[in-house]
Point group: C2
Chain length 301, copies 2
Amino acid sequence: MKAKEKEVPLEDKQEQAANWFYSLQALICEAFEKLEDDLSGGPKASLPAGRFEKTPWEREKSEEPNASGSLLQGGGTMAVMRGRVFEKVGVNVSRVHGKFSKDYAKQMPGAEESDGHFWASGLSLVAHLQSPLVPAVHMNTRMIMTSKSWFGGGADLTPMFESAEDTQDFHAAFKDCCDSFDPAYYPEFKEWCDRYFFLPHRNEPRGIGGIFYDYLDRKNWDEDFAFTKAVGRTFLDIYPKLVARSMNRDWTDEEREYQLVKRGRYVEFNLLYDRGTQFGLKTGGNTEAILMSMPPEAKWP
Amino acid sequence: MKAKEKEVPLEDKQEQAANWFYSLQALICEAFEKLEDDLSGGPKASLPAGRFEKTPWEREKSEEPNASGSLLQGGGTMAVMRGRVFEKVGVNVSRVHGKFSKDYAKQMPGAEESDGHFWASGLSLVAHLQSPLVPAVHMNTRMIMTSKSWFGGGADLTPMFESAEDTQDFHAAFKDCCDSFDPAYYPEFKEWCDRYFFLPHRNEPRGIGGIFYDYLDRKNWDEDFAFTKAVGRTFLDIYPKLVARSMNRDWTDEEREYQLVKRGRYVEFNLLYDRGTQFGLKTGGNTEAILMSMPPEAKWP
């Protein structure tokens, strides 16, 4: 496998991965805007169709570590839409590099050996829908390099009112995706997802799960990258179908109220447990981009 | 001082402290219900005056540690009101004892020497107001015993739109309170409060501060207890005055909207940084009582 590894130089890997995340962002934004156009029923149908606003951001080229002791350079593009189907959806891509603080380097594979140096690129998406009958969703894929290099990510669905059909189709799509690479993937990544998206203080899962994977490095970069692309494409294929299935239905005030309470749980998970959020905020990341995942409105009645 | 210490037996201290927290809860509930009765203007004046609902809770007498590895026994009383002045206010008293997990015992003064055994009682209050022109407030006082014994607590104000008069009166009240015990208290406790109630990821304070103190043990239990009582009485005196000052005013939709966004910051602080919340949730405390501090509604637009 070593010989194969050499076929893709480091810079090419970074270029290919980051390019993919940027193209996936464009594809998802296009698909979500089409859903905005297609809305034909329900209480929000008279509103104008939403459009993504894209905001590129770049870190100052500082050579000084930030307050957290890490040095972070690079940038990204936040794409956010406040629409009539998607009450608030953020699709963020970033490509950053720098040097972890000593403390943080201890937690990241291969980072002590790289003297803290790292490179990372990824896409992160959270969608909060107007309709309580359409599930909220999270999807994230990323490539990280220290002295090691790996992929991670996944997608999970948070229905307010579970639909057996949605649950089955969402799981089936990711099972197919995983199985086409390795039959061992799906059981492992599904279980990892259930374990990760769980609120111990409520003793309840965040949603119905999906897949979650990390530290994926089978010493075959092309295939690991292909898997990560397949996860993105699977999301792009299945989630808009679930949205289209229910977005034109009417909903009641009680259903909306329940959605706002359920969103409170989402906030609790993200701020109390989510590693990405905690990592981002505590290492001096872009707060606006990180907290794009917060719901537009939530209740703790 | 040792001689003086012996004058108050352990059980009496616990009894006196817990009794005080319960009486303070009754006094505060009474004062807040009076404000509900007194409302005479503003957009909510036609609603019925709110009343506190009190819910006693008690832990099962389990001898088994919970999921966090701690053993927690005892109980408390949650008092919550959803009214026309107070959109949601929780005034919780608890009196618990048990055994910290080994990990947690390392973080608590004197807990390794007590083999993890502890006793704690306290009152914790968070008020979210209907009016964006009335500041939200937090107040908490507590007594904790391991092999050591100490008091902690404080009060801090979170106006949505700062009023110089409110800020001045709130600070002056706690300065007077502190100064009557020790002129060194106020500067130290005010600075501690500013340091503690700060959101590093936003680089902004939670509100205008107040006082914060912890590990107070001057080897004169009577006086330390008297100070903690004085903090409670000061709160009981000053905060209702600030509420009465502005509660009858009208407000705009824009002011309400700003309040909901500011409340989002409150959520961020409580879930990301608040030691009490993190402690409670991660040691298997009463989730409902701990998350009583969450605002009834919040926005991240």
